[in-house]
Symmetry: C2
Subunit: 199 residues, 2 copies
């Protein structure tokens, strides 16, 4: 009878290796998949494999890509003097959707977090500094998330960028467009006031 | 460039269909898998498929099994007059490990939870009542978890079992063996006192 549980135990073990999923959650997920139609499990397995087969990280900017280097890094029409540093590949997509930025990117793959044990060596910081060697990049735009981890990361990067002859900027903090001033949190409102500009 | 993200988006979508996993967590999991060695993704996909291929639920007791009915339901040496009702397949395994129970089981696959929207029709209660028809079962042992959902489920089952001519019992609440009385929570200690027995 115990033999029956082995395939379940194996899946539970595999799921529990994912971040934020403990043995209890892994168990719940495994039994959920058993109860659902076979198609859900097949879709999941297929999606995992096809993603790993077709998607990789650009060895220059670490954005997700099907070819290496990625289309953005290879595009000669992109402004080679601007480097926008973000935490995740999805942040690149968010900027691309704006159609307001035509420079290059660098994806850190995370943010510094002493709590989660994520240090500088866990992020793509070394490769980022390596890209400054050629002298082509003149401005590094820090676009980490506006939270504690993102701000800590930005401050750390600023220190590391000091020896380099580049301008270091950070994207603006302020009121979100379409938002309501009355409902803005005090930190955002305070930064919006501090960063006010002449019209 | 947007084409690259499609396999990632598909995996995020599949993961987000699992309980307790929202789009943000699904994204984090997908990027984690991309960063890890290919083997982890392969193991995960393989484990999902092989579990679904080799494991199913017994159509009698709803325990996990490779054959239907399961080995416990088919075993003539098990006491056919006892039916132990549990929430999950792993509870069956827990009881089997004790080697102190030789009756049959019925797995509800969950517990009543108005908060999570789990009602009687979501559990295997109908099939459980159906098993009482033959008259072979003389005692139903309620072994749901000792928490609010489990207790609610036990009380509901007690009501539903009233029309049947069976003894309904519940496994004992009390101090866990090896525990320290000083550190026992007051509810457990209170129940241990109430359920005291003659020596």
């Amino acid at each position: 009878m115990y033999g029956n549980i082995e395939p379940v135990a194996r899946l539970v073990h595999a799921l529990a290796r994912l971040p934020g999923i403990g043995p209890k959650t892994a168990q719940r997920l495994a039994f959920f998949l058993l109860r659902q139609p076979l198609e859900l499990s097949q879709e999941l397995a297929e999606a995992v494999l096809s993603m790993r087969e077709t998607v990789a990280f650009c060895s220059t900017c670490f954005h997700i890509t099907a070819e290496d280097p990625c289309q953005i890094c290879r595009d000669p029409r992109r402004d080679q003097s601007l480097l926008c540093v973000v935490e995740e590949p999805l942040d690149v997509l968010a900027f691309e959707r704006t159609r307001r930025y035509r420079g290059l990117y660098h994806v850190l793959h995370g943010a510094l977090s002493p709590v989660e044990g994520i240090g500088p060596d866990d992020l793509k910081i070394g490769p980022m500094l390596g890209r400054l060697g050629s002298g082509a990049i003149q401005e590094v735009i820090l676009a980490t998330n506006p939270n504690i981890e993102g701000d800590t990361t930005a401050q750390y990067l600023m220190q590391r960028l000091k020896p380099y002859n580049v301008r270091v900027t950070q994207i603006a903090r302020g009121l979100p467009v379409g938002g309501d001033l009355e409902y803005a949190d005090e930190v955002t409102l305070g930064q919006a006031m501090e960063n006010r500009r002449d019209l």
